[in-house]
Structure formats: C-alpha cells, structure tokens
C-alpha cells in the first residue's frame, strides 16, 4: 500500500559495514515479539489490577482457547503476507470448510447431504475443502494476476454466500466427538487446541527461518523479480502458500466449531480483521517479505487479552467496541514506537 521509502539522507548507507553489530540472523527471528512484549506486559498488568480473576485458571483457559483459534488463522494469513500477497477470504474458509465437511459426510441436525455418515471422512473433507479454497484463491491471484485484495474480497463474499446457501441459515449442531474434541478437549488444564497451536507455531517458526522453502517465501515477498531470476519457482511457491493458508484456516475453524459444539452459518465472520490486526501488531509487513510467526502470535495474544480484559472490567456494553478500537490504535502506536511495525 504505502511505500514510505524515503529519499531522506538519514538512511545511513554504511550501516552494513563491519563496525555495525552482528544482530541480524537473531533479530530476524526475535525482534518482533520483543517489540510487542512491552504492550503485552502492560495489558496483563492492567488486567490483573482491574480484576484479579484475570489470572484465574478459568480465564486463562478461555484465553488459550480463543488465542489458539485466532492464532492458527493468523499463522495462515502471515504465510500469505510474508509472501507479499493478501487473503481476506480466509475468514470464510474458516467457516465454510468445516461446514462443507460436516454437511457432506455427516447426518447432523440442521441439515446434511445425507450421503453417508463418517466422521473421519468429514474431518478429511474439512481440510481438503480448505486446501481447495486456498488453491482457488491462488489461481485467481497468481495465474489470473488479480489484485489479491479485491480477488479475495470477491471470494469472501462468494464463500460466505455459499455457506448461507448450503445450510439455508441453519446451524449445524450435535457434531460427533471426533470433530469437537480438537476444539473442546483439554489435557490437564490446558486446552488441546492450545497445544495444537503451539506445535504449529514451533513448526512454522523453524520452517520460516531454517527451511529453504521458508526462506524462498521471504525472497518472493521481498522482491519477486529477484526471486524469479534466482530460479525460485515463484508461482508454485505462492500456490502452496495459499493452499497452506486455506488448510490452516480450516483447522482454526474446526477448533472453534468444536469449542461452540456447533457450526452457525456465520462462523468466522469478521474474524479476518482481527487476524490482520494481530499480524501487523506482531510486526508482519503488509508489503511482504518481513515478519515472523512468533511475532504474529504475540499480536494474537495481545488482541485476545484486550478483549478479555475489557469484558472482565465490565466496560459498559455500548462502549466496548469503541474501547477495543481505541486500544488497538494505542497498541499499534506503541508497537510502532518500539519498532516492530517496520511495515508502516
């Protein structure tokens, strides 16, 4: 969007020369969440003061659940953003994929195709449809060369429409345990979904920093021309990014469906904005080529905590949205001052 590269002479052309400390490979991995950390700390302290229950296991449990759903969606989005693209439709994948899976392969109340009833197939179908939707977006953006914002906006509308059409507004409920477990089960006092999210975070962090494909993503996002001449199969890489993002969104949707033990036709609505806010708060650049998974997840945690604190501190219902917006702005400001958001 805004290319704010300045001709200002202040850009020290010699920054690369020996004297400068050897921080890069490290910083590349850790800087963003250092930048968001102060904000997180502030929110946590504030929360603890406003209402001691903030630190209660119940509350933390809830936070973990919400954080893992939004977190997984955001990781998917982050992949796309780092690769220099954009995907608004992930929120509809979040809702539609689980719905299609259940609708096609289960016989639950609320409606179904009634072909057969097989939880395993349903589970499979969920991820497959996630992948297919991702691929569809990929084709639009990569091969038909649509502007990613507008193309995925169109898909967003299309997919939301489909999920309305498929179930005619009904809520699918009474899901089999196999589908709800990932979202509702817990090991000790830790939600299973949280463990899943942590696992993914670890994997993706390594992948992005150490795996050659991961590095290719940064190259493609940073300068697709350079990547192309360097022999990186830009199109193919991007294709996989969209597919991966779709699958992650589907998983996130599955977790939420599990948590609320049902699939309303509005599942996931307006979630993508939170994902974007989280990613950017976590230092992911919307211009591509910059950002990290831990950073993005830091942003997720921040958002979830803010919402949580607001509810706990019983801000009057009418003003809660406004307050959220205000706080996000402040958070952006802080994380910018502390240098995370290089994007803007």
């Amino acid at each position: 969007m805004s290319n704010s590269t300045h001709i200002s002479p202040a850009a020290p052309p010699l920054a690369g020369v020996r004297p400068t400390p050897n921080r890069r490979s490290l910083s590349n991995l850790f800087q963003p969440e250092w930048a968001i950390l102060p904000v997180l700390v502030v929110v946590i302290i504030a929360g603890a003061i406003l209402n001691p229950a903030f630190l209660s296991s119940d509350n933390i449990y809830g936070v973990m659940q919400q954080a893992s759903e939004l977190g997984i969606l955001t990781m998917g989005l982050t992949l796309v953003l780092i690769a220099g693209k954009f995907d608004l439709s992930l929120e509809s994948t979040f809702g539609l994929a689980p719905m299609l899976g259940v609708y096609c392969f289960l016989d639950v109340s609320g409606g179904s195709l009634g072909l057969m009833s097989s939880p395993i197939l349903a589970l499979l179908a969920i991820f497959v449809s996630g992948a297919l939707i991702g691929a569809f977006n990929g084709v639009l953006v990569i091969y038909l060369k649509f502007n990613a914002f507008i193309a995925t906006l169109a898909t967003l509308i299309l997919l939301r429409g489909i999920s309305l059409g498929v179930t005619r507004g009904q809520t699918l409920s009474e899901l089999p345990p196999l589908l709800t477990a990932p979202g509702e089960a817990s090991i000790g006092n830790v939600p299973l979904s949280f463990l899943i999210a942590l696992g993914l975070l670890a994997m993706l962090t390594l992948f992005m920093s150490r795996h050659r494909i991961g590095r290719m993503l940064y190259a493609v996002g940073g300068n697709s021309q350079a990547a192309r001449v360097a022999g990186i199969p830009v199109e193919r890489v991007l294709m996989w990014v969209f597919i991966a993002a779709g699958v992650l969104a589907a998983l996130a949707g599955l977790l939420q469906a599990g948590r609320i033990a049902s699939i309303p036709s509005s599942l996931g609505q307006n979630l993508i904005f939170n994902a974007f806010a989280a990613a950017v708060l976590g230092g992911v650049s919307l211009n591509g080529g910059r950002g990290t998974m831990p950073g993005a997840c830091g942003g997720v945690l921040l958002l979830v905590l803010i919402q949580d604190v607001l509810v706990l501190s019983q801000v009057p219902a009418y003003w809660i949205n406004a307050t959220t917006g205000g706080i996000i702005l402040v958070a952006l400001l802080i994380s910018k001052l502390s240098g995370a958001d290089k994007a803007a």
Partner: protein, 520 residues
Amino acid sequence: MIPATRPAVSSTSVNPLAAIVQIDRAVKRFGETVALNELSLTISRGESHGLVGRNGAGKSTLVSVLTGLRTIDSGKFLVNGAAPPVLSDRNAWREIVSCVYQHRTLVPDLSVAENLYLGRYQGKQTISWRALNQKASAELDSWNMPILPNAKVRDLGVGEAQMVEIARALSQGSRFVILDEPTAQLIASEIDQLILRVNELRKRGVTFLFISHHLEEIPQVCDTVTVLRNGRDVLHGDAQKITTTRIVSAMVGDEATGIALTASEHVTRPPLSSDMPVVLDAQIKAAACKDTFHLTLRAGEVVGLAGHSGSGTRHLALTLAGHNPRWAGQIQLKGEKVPRTWNPSTAVRTGISLLPEDRIKTGLVGGLSIEDNITLPSLKTFSRRVLIDRKARRKFAEANRTDLGIACHSVTQAVSELSGGNQQKVLLGSALSPNPAILILLHPTAGVDIASKATILDIVERRRRQGLAVILVSDEPEELAFCDRVQVWVRGEKVAERSGMNEQELVAAMEGFTLPSETS
C-alpha cells in the same frame, strides 16, 4: 583507470559449433517500440563479447532474451546450437547463463549472504546460517568488500549492492556470464576489482557478454565488440583493433559530428566573469560530515562535490535541496536566509531543483506520461485560472522532447517504457522546467551513453550560460571535468577545493591520498 592488462585469449574465430549463442534476425517489439530490429549476433565459447549502444539501442532487451526472461517475436535464437529452454524453466536457464541485470535483483530485507546464494541452498532442505555466512564472508573477502554477510541488503550503499550482485553472478560458476552495465554505479577501485576478476575467469574459459557505456573498459575486457543502434547490430569487430571513434560514430550514426562539437564545448569554456551575482551562500553542519560545509555559488558557476559513496556529498546535496528535515547551519538564497523549515517544495519554489541519482526509485513517476513528468514541478505555471492549459503544456513538453533529444514516439508515452538514458533526459527536463536558479545534479550521467551524456551536459551548459548555477555531485572524473571548481570530500571531511584538477589528482583525492591542496 588501470592499464589494460588483458591476457591474450585465442580464437575469436566464430565457429558455429563453438557458438554459445546464435541469434539471427531477431525482432522484439514493445507496443510500437521496436527494441530488437532484425538483430543478428553470435557469441562463441570462450570469447568475451562487448556490447555497446546508445540508451534504448536494445541492449537490456537482448539481455532479457538471452537470459530467458523474454522471447523474441520472430527470428532464430539458438543456445549451444539447440533451441533455448522454455521461459518457465528457470533452473535450465541458470545452467546456461548467469547475469547481472541493469536493474537491481536483490531482496532488500534478506541478508547479503542469503542474497548471494538465493535459490541455490545446495539441495539440502534446512539452512545452516553459520555455514552460509562463512561461505558468504569468504566470497566477500575475495572481493575485499568490507561488508558483513548478515547485513541486510536494504542497508547497503548503491555501489556495495552492485558489487554483491556481481559477486553473486560470478560465484555461480556458470560458463557464460552477462554483465549489463555493471560498472555504472561503481567507483574506480571497484571497477578495477571487477575487471581483474573478469579476466581471471576468462583465462579459465568463461564466456562473457559485457555491456557498458564506459567505452574505455571495452578493450580492457573484450575480444570482440558489437555495436547496437535502434535494435540493429550496426558494427562488429575486434575490440582491440577497432577505434573508439569508429564505435562512437557507429553508435550515434550520422549525428557523430554534432556530438564531437557539444562534447568538446564545455572543456574549452571561457572563464566565469567575476561580476556574476552570488546566488547561494551556505554553511551546513551535517550529521554526516565532520567538517562544516561552506559554499558560495555565483550565477553561471558549476561547482563539483566529488566523493565516493559514504563521503557525505550526497547528504550535503540533499540537505541543500531541502530533503533533510534535521539540518543545521544556514543557507542564503539570492541574499535571503531560507527558513528552518527548509523542505523540497519550498526549495523548488524558491529556485533549487534536484536531479536525484536513482531515477526509477526517486525521480520519475513510471506510470505517468513524459509530458506529466516533465511538467510536474512547474504545473502551476501552466494553470490558467483553475484548470491546466493543455496546449501550452503540450507545447512545452514537445519542446523539451526535441531539445533533450528524448527517443520516444509521443510525449504521452509512459516513462516506464523508456530506456535508462531517455528516462534520465526526461528527469533533467523535469528538473529544469520550473527554471531554477540552482540545479543540483547527483551522478547525472551514470548509466547514460556517450552521445546522451554529451546532450545532457550540453543542455546544462546552455542553461549555465543563461545564468544557471550548478552543483554537481559525482565521483566520475569525466563528469567533474565539467566543473569550474571542485570540492573533494572523503568520509565527511573536505580534503580539497580547487579548480582545474586533472583526472589523476581527482581520483587520488577521492581515494583519500592527500595532495598539496592550495585551495583556490
């Protein structure tokens, strides 16, 4: 420039079997522009082939064809005697050729090391940063480049970045290497580095296609040379025997005589009459520079700020043009002190124009027409009451087109479609359109062919005669020869200020060798 120490490499005889590249009557069009016009060219194995031509002659287009980024519309194109791979098969192409493109192909946010080995992490899936960085710093040291392998390319200077690109191309171990104006942004010492390395590789039988506007480099590097004009190969010969004048006249065709005149003009320039009014009087204490910068500039005077990357010259120039919000000192323009809030728009309005060094990034609006770009700083003067007077604007643009000799088929053509040199001319036209009292030039003729170079300097010279004062920031002796007086800066210190320095003195001074400086 170092003396041409080029090893004798045998057999420049063109034996089609030994030919790496055979092109026959290739045509490449961009809309109405014919970039390659029935061009025929053969590059035989082991030779290093020079390619010269004016801006827009088609060199880079040819490169994009040779490296599999574009296909020709018609004609024959063989690689190693066989049909070339499909464009999408990048790896096959990288087997065949590695290239330094005229335009950056580095990823700004990745480290130097990663950029060096971009896309070739030697098969294994996970990367060991330590290994990568070690390999990189070895490579960098071999070029004795004082850069950290894990510095971000974003933070490098123009020259440093260029060297990284070159290092990458040459370290890929390809048997065929293309260099498109590799020296345009390099300083003398770096150029020597490059030439040495190229010649080493030639001994080992690597084939080169070497593109440059510095004709003196051709005999230092090349066996054969081909001259392009308007997408045609107009001259082909032995780089050692053929004379520069023949190359030049081939490049420019019939205009040759004209060039000779203009080019020589500024050298034999009548000394500046001392009663010219002082237009600029500046003392600047720049963050970049230890020494305070003093400059008194008379109308019609041309002062050079000589200095390599990191010298502070650019920083000073940008400050004068209002691009440095945190400046200290004072600037008097035509006797009046400029406000603290000295910014580009006030600078342009009060008569200081800047010609930035990176035309694509900071100079031109690629999507807009030549007309729009040229009149951008002076739109106000074309506004009648509310709206813009289209006719006047068009006339002005056309005048500039002929005046600057911009090669285009219409002033409504998007500047992004022009070749480097022509873009530079548009940029100059734009800088001059508000007809400023002072013009600040940053490396004005970098990457510009001789003829255009002459044209550009010629335009400036004409304006100078009408009282335009010029500040020329450069590290190219030929450019600096254009100046009445030169300040030489090294790492933020002024090491010399005098007129009539010769090339050797200048180069030495910029390299930081102190010489008896009696400031004039």
